[in-house]
Symmetry: C2
Subunit: 133 residues, 2 copies
């Protein structure tokens, strides 16, 4: 699958890379690139990029759409994401916390974590500041 490197493919990859620390929905991508890429090409390329490991698909909290984020050749690869339910911003969990969690789960429950697919939800420091709750 996806043997040719087409223009559309490149456009989608570049778009994702330009927003590498965010979770972008397919809809957003399709809308942003609608002049040069069709909706189906967006979905098909995202699926292909996911298979290649260049992109990770994650479920978004309380949203029926999926989020996609660039995994490139590095970075996000083994990162757990943590998303603020107030502002929607998504960050990485520090690698020290991540590896401690990973080890604890492996040791105590025999669970091998798929870090890239995990999403934690909460309220970030900034949003906790003045806001309620």
């Amino acid at each position: 699958m996806q043997k040719y490197f087409t223009e559309q493919r490149r456009i989608i990859s570049e778009y994702l890379e330009s927003r590498k620390d965010e979770c972008v929905t397919a809809q957003e991508i399709a809308a942003a690139l609608c002049l040069s890429v069709s909706k189906s090409a967006v979905y098909r390329n995202l699926a292909a990029l996911e298979k290649e490991g260049k992109v990770v698909r994650v479920s978004l909290a309380g949203d029926r759409a999926f989020g996609y984020r660039y995994a490139g050749s590095h970075a996000c690869a083994g990162k757990i994401h943590i998303s603020c339910v107030k502002c929607g911003r998504t960050e990485h969990v520090s690698s020290s916390v991540t590896s401690r969690l990973e080890r604890a789960l492996a040791a105590e429950e025999g669970f091998s974590l798929r870090k890239g697919e995990c999403m934690l939800y909460g309220v970030c420091k900034a949003c906790r500041g003045g806001a309620s709750k």
Copy 2:
């Protein structure tokens, strides 16, 4: 919303309670109770129960449907869920691991975790046993 305690409401609550440690999809509930509750009543009651905090709605990995799990007055309340991508079984992360993670995130990133909404994905001990990967 949901001022009356109707028969359907009770049936749905009881069904969820009977499967309190699982993530059940709305479809599953609707199918199981189709003789006594309509699909729309299932969705409406789930939404209401969620608002009341009796039920938590979570995104299921790679699935476009949502999972619902009973939060009752206790149990699952502050539990992070961990789901096996192979067998689909969902368990709770032990409270010691959970609270360590929670403290670490609070301390290192100022993030206050919404435990009930978090989902971790990986492969459980049983599935890792003989299977590949």
